[in-house]
Symmetry: C2
Subunit: 203 residues, 2 copies
């Protein structure tokens, strides 16, 4: 085992360190964040920072980096109060990853990547047709994280789309069966192989 | 595809809904949170909410649920300002999962599960010997999330231990090679199979 100190980390080149530190939190979720501005112009961005916040009420959060691509998305969320998260499966991985490129504001990543927007009734934000797990969310709060200028977006689940066959008897959704991929670091994508579901632990 | 509304979700039994909503964020990291109180009594808790916050400075966050087991851990973090996160691999999965049981405060989950504490010089919090990726962290801030009583713990990386062979030329740490497992829902554990590392996307 290597022991690496904070002093060692601080001496590393910025991109090298970014790859390294991004790998340390462990496996991450791969979600497409889809939004539209008030005029209905759509935006799509791949994010790997979605985190479960609670089931009652059903809350999800994600971290928005300072001054990076998805700020167009954040502007849209501030304007309209809604967005969708869409799981990524291997068949849509290449266009999903491509959505993270630094496109100009007036370019929709749907057009640029070939992914297809779809709409649920009066819900303003588009979802991603190709995705097999889609979640519609309403913004609750944007919490600034003062230490590095990131922000945590906190939102409440309004609706969801899931394949009928992935829900198990106790409510668990088999996202492996849905093909949802996992991310490590900045750019490594992984499918999963279930070890097991483990029983509720008791002392 | 099934369309499920918020109204549908609100009618579900609490445990069923917890399994369901916990699956929705996508794949999660599996980390053992290790702490000690001022007297050196150790505590260990499995968490799946660790999130990358930034590389410069190197920051990691996690969500602490209200009134659940790891509050002993949170008390220790408040007291001492430090903790470690330790990736879980399949060979230590059973004791790692068991650490989430509701043990009394005076029982160390290290003793209860058979996992082994180790210490780095003067760093007060223990790390987990069996783990292959260990991170020492210093508390920066605990941010209350008012919508459901959870809290986000924000911390800065002080040191890390990694196997010498998992770092690639550009800094990326191959956590799949280290055997780090991924979690979905409350209790499903997965190994991973790399699809690919994808090139930095350009418009």
């Amino acid at each position: 085992m290597q022991h690496i100190t904070r002093h060692d980390l601080d001496k590393l080149p910025s991109r090298y360190r970014a790859h390294m530190i991004n790998s340390l939190s462990g496996f991450k979720s791969a979600n497409l964040l889809a939004t539209a501005d008030e005029q209905g112009n759509t935006n799509l961005a791949m994010i790997s920072s979605v985190v479960h916040l609670g089931a009652e009420p059903p809350l999800i959060g994600f971290i928005m980096r300072p001054n990076t691509v998805p700020r167009h998305s954040l502007d849209n969320i501030r304007q309209t109060g809604v967005f969708t998260l869409n799981h990524v499966h291997p068949g849509m991985l290449q266009p999903a990853h491509q959505s993270a490129a630094k496109y100009e504001r007036e370019i929709s990543e749907f057009d640029a990547t070939g992914l297809t927007p779809m709409y649920h009734e009066s819900f303003h934000a588009p979802a991603v047709t190709e995705s097999r797990v889609r979640i519609g969310l309403q913004l609750l709060e944007i919490v600034p994280i003062k230490h590095n200028g990131t922000e945590m977006v906190i939102a409440e689940i309004c609706w969801l789309n899931i394949p009928a066959n992935i829900q198990q008897e106790d409510g668990y959704l088999d996202i492996e069966e849905a093909g949802s991929v996992s991310v490590s670091g900045l750019d490594s994508y992984h499918t999963t192989v279930r070890i097991n579901r483990l029983a509720y632990p008791k002392p």
